[in-house]
């Protein structure tokens, strides 16, 4: 049983890019196309790793450090994330703050690298990312705090492991509000529609993609892989809260968790196929909505 947390950590590292395949296949289905292979992102990563990297002469070590630091921070954060009933590799009271700030560190590294290029596009992207993430972070922390208050635990494993179907009967509103807030944060942080369009080639409308335009080869692979891990990480939290399964068998619970992740991928694909992106000036309203949901969850948890 000691090995279990390590297994699902490794599974997370291996399966994260697969989630993109699920999303893209769902979108293709809605568009009436067959779509790219489910494993496309693995091919892309393999292709990028084998390439060389080109560095602009105007950039410094900050630019090169960006992808490495941000990937390392996300991998580190993943160590603290439980998979449904299965506890994380590491846990301690208050690790929700550590995870939130590891994600912030990853973002800081990406934004610094973007600013280091001196490109007006990348500066614009960094400014948008800073604005939106500064608003999304409180929403994430407050919703986790609300759950923590509800179960009286301050580590991610402590919050999510005890949840089961019975928790929804007992404290449905708190869980629903927190899950709603987390779902919005999930879309914002992972640059999905309606906040950002991962498929666009139009630099002026991008948020996340525009910050990494100058990276290539292995650096870009690190960025793409980091993005996949972040999707997996926040997805794990969301699935753990929204669809807790408790059967007593670690294998079935684990399988249910993986099923939940695939379902999440399908949901993201369905959202992206059924609505347009928000106007950039409207995105803060959406994030403020997430913060409001999280606050309501906190108030109900305090009751």
């Amino acid at each position: 049983m000691k090995a279990l947390p390590v297994i699902h950590f490794v599974l997370g590292l291996l399966l994260a890019p697969f989630l993109f395949g699920v999303i893209n296949r769902t979108k293709a289905f809605f568009a009436g196309r067959r779509g790219q292979p489910l494993l496309q992102m693995y091919y892309d990563l393999w292709k990028l790793v084998r390439k060389g990297a080109v560095y602009s002469e105007t950039t410094t070590w900050v630019f090169r450090a960006g992808p490495v630091v941000s990937l390392a921070a996300v991998v580190l954060a993943l160590l603290f994330v439980p998979a449904g009933r299965l506890p994380a590799v590491a846990a301690f009271g208050g690790d929700i703050l550590l995870v939130a700030y590891l994600l912030a560190l990853a973002r800081f590294a990406t934004m610094s690298a973007a600013l280091d290029t001196g490109s007006s596009f990348e500066g614009m992207g960094a400014s948008r990312e800073a604005q939106f993430s500064a608003m999304a972070e409180p929403a994430l922390l407050i919703s986790l705090a609300a759950l923590g208050r509800h179960v009286h635990a301050w580590s991610l494993s402590g919050i999510i492991n005890p949840l089961g179907p019975e928790a929804w009967r007992g404290a449905g509103p708190v869980l629903a509000l927190a899950a709603g807030a987390m779902a919005i944060v999930f879309l914002v942080e992972n640059a999905r529609i309606p906040v950002d369009d991962p498929n666009t080639h139009l630099e002026l409308t991008m948020i996340h993609e525009v910050m990494v335009l100058d990276h290539g080869g292995p650096d870009f692979a690190a960025i793409q892989y980091g993005a996949a891990l972040k999707l997996w990480l926040l997805g794990s939290l969301l699935v753990g809260i929204a669809a807790p399964v408790h059967t007593g068998s670690a294998v079935i619970d684990g399988a249910a968790f993986l099923g939940g992740m695939c379902a999440l991928g399908v949901c993201v694909g369905a959202v992206e196929s059924s609505m347009a992106r928000l106007r950039l000036t409207r995105v803060p309203h959406l994030i403020a909505g997430a913060a409001a949901l999280a606050l309501l969850a906190a108030i109900m948890a305090l009751r």
């Binding site: 979108k27 809605f30 568009a31 009436g32 196309r33 007006s120 596009f121 500066g123 614009m124 948008r128 529609i193 309606p194 369009d197 498929n199 666009t200 080639h201 139009l202 630099e203 002026l204 409308t205 992206e272 196929s273 059924s274 609505m275 347009a276 992106r277 928000l278 106007r279 950039l280 000036t281 409207r282």
Partner: protein
């Protein structure tokens, strides 16, 4: 005698009957006509058989349905029209660049196309190419101040599109000013057309703007027919109209899909991409080429359509119309899409009138301006078309006008194909007559295409002027971006969807 001569659309008059007035009167006439509601369809310089060139203005009075031409002799320079008539802005820059005729007092005189060398219209002088402008190297309008920053986009873009340079002056995310610098695609087509028509002419014409093949070819064919004093048979005219509307359907479908794609609305984007292909294939059914190359020639059309293919065409049209209606209605019913379209990229009605906007973009600002309605030629004289307009001037209006036009085009094609006139599809082409001026306008899917030709004593083109609708409309995009979010630029750009090569020629 009036200072202007009246000319029919698709008509020719002897060059001698075009009034040659003094420069001051020419200037006053153009400015007053434009103030009175006419549109400057073309302003160009032409050889005048001596040291002085001829300035020629074509004024389109869309309300009155009259085309007027006026000309004046000009030397090295003349007082610029632009300060009092904004529509002359690009025309005057073009003349300064190509012919070295300087508009004095022009507020923004800089290279338009980086054409490399000036051409002779005045007794054989050519500007040496050493002082030719280097593409992309020129001054741009700048805004200074705290938190004001400049964003330069292009000429190399992330997508597979043509080269153009966009310089934004921004305050945060808000665009205060956008300057568009084109010219990277300049091919020198107008120069190549001189001394025509020859075997190459029609191929140059069909590729003036590749997605507007039928409209340019129709304008050219009607112009040649006017110069030669012949007419295309009624059946050919009807087939040209069908091809023109098919071209409109294909491009408008593509535009609506591209607009959906730019706001990340996948279903409409995916389906319209496919249905655009269906419409292109209908043009291929008509003539064997998806873009209509080789269909329209002076004197008529090169291929006839038999009953079986006509029935097949109507069947395919019905299916494609049903599909595109489903895809587009889905977009109108999605509030997340209309929320992005409405009040984005608003171009005020007055601004659109001032700069002489054309096509669906003008009609989206509430300007009833459509060559098929105002200056009908060919099949449009008998089976009339109505102009589709909307009043809000935003991205939604430009999308909505396109959709309404598509519905009308479908109806029109149905009507024309069901009642095709019998008879030949081509009449023997006549050589252009000597010393004539001909003007031909055609409503392409982007707006009015204008071709002007002057023949010399031997009946060859002494000057062939082409004005693509994009030439009028690029400035509209720059104005529509003022005080908009820079992140909305791709959407606004797509809602205009202008041609780079049509502008650069």
């Amino acid at each position: 005698m009036s200072t202007c001569a009246i000319i029919q659309n698709g008509g020719a008059i002897p060059l001698a009957s075009v009034p040659m007035v003094a420069l001051g009167l020419f200037r006053r006439t153009v400015i007053e006509e434009v103030r009175g509601g006419a549109r400057l369809a073309a302003l160009c310089a032409a050889p005048n058989g001596g040291a002085r060139a001829r300035l020629l203005a074509v004024l389109a009075d869309h309300g009155g349905g009259v085309l007027r031409v006026v000309s004046a002799a000009v030397g090295d320079s003349y007082p610029a029209l632009t300060p009092e008539c904004a529509q002359a802005h690009l025309f005057e820059r073009e003349m300064a660049e190509r012919f070295g005729i300087m508009p004095e007092g022009h507020p923004w005189l800089k290279p338009l196309r980086f054409s490399g060398r000036a051409d002779a219209v005045r007794g054989g002088t050519r500007r040496p190419s050493a002082d030719a402008p280097v593409p992309g190297v020129c001054d741009f309008y700048r805004v200074e101040g705290e938190e004001v920053h400049e964003v330069a986009v292009g000429p190399v873009h992330a997508g597979i599109i043509e080269p153009g340079h966009f310089r934004f002056q921004c305050h945060g995310e808000t665009v205060m000013h956008l300057e568009i610098a084109l010219g990277y695609q300049h091919r020198g087509v107008e120069r190549a057309l001189e001394n025509g028509p020859d075997n190459r002419t029609i191929h140059y014409i069909e590729t003036l703007a590749g997605d507007t093949t039928i409209a340019h070819a129709t304008a050219h064919a009607e112009l040649c027919e006017a110069l030669g004093g012949c007419a295309a048979p009624p059946r050919a005219q009807a087939l040209r109209a069908v091809a023109l509307e098919l071209e409109r359907l294909a491009n408008h479908t593509g535009d609506l899909g591209a607009l959906a794609n730019d706001v990340g609305f996948l279903p409409t984007a995916s389906y319209c991409g496919r249905i655009r292909g269906d419409f292109l294939n209908m043009t291929a059914l008509l003539c064997g080429n998806r873009f209509g190359r080789g269909l329209v020639v002076p004197g008529g059309v090169r291929v006839d359509i038999d009953e079986a293919r006509a029935a097949e065409l109507l069947g395919r049209l019905e299916r494609a119309t049903r599909d595109v209606t489903g895809a587009v209605e889905l977009m109108w019913r999605s509030p997340s899409v209309t929320a992005r379209f409405e009040r984005t990229g608003v171009l005020p009605h007055e601004a659109a009138v001032t700069i002489g906007l054309v096509g669906p973009c003008a009609r989206a600002c509430g300007i009833e301006r459509d060559v098929r309605v105002d200056f009908p030629t060919g099949a449009f004289r008998l089976a009339r078309m109505a102009a589709s307009t909307w009043h809000t001037g935003d991205v939604f209006a430009r999308a909505h006008v396109r959709w309404r036009e598509m519905l009308r085009s479908v109806e029109y094609i149905n009507e024309q194909v069901r009642s095709l006139p019998e008879g030949a599809t081509r009449s023997p082409a006549a050589q252009p007559g000597p010393s004539l001026l001909a003007v031909s306008l055609c409503e392409a899917w982007r707006g009015a295409v204008c071709h002007v030709a002057i023949t010399d004593a031997a009946g060859r083109f002494a000057r062939y002027k082409v004005v693509d609708p994009s030439f009028h409309n690029w400035f509209g995009l720059a104005l529509a971006m003022r005080n908009q979010q820079i992140s909305d630029f791709p959407l606004c750009n797509k809602s205009f969807n202008l041609s780079y090569c049509g502008h650069d020629l």
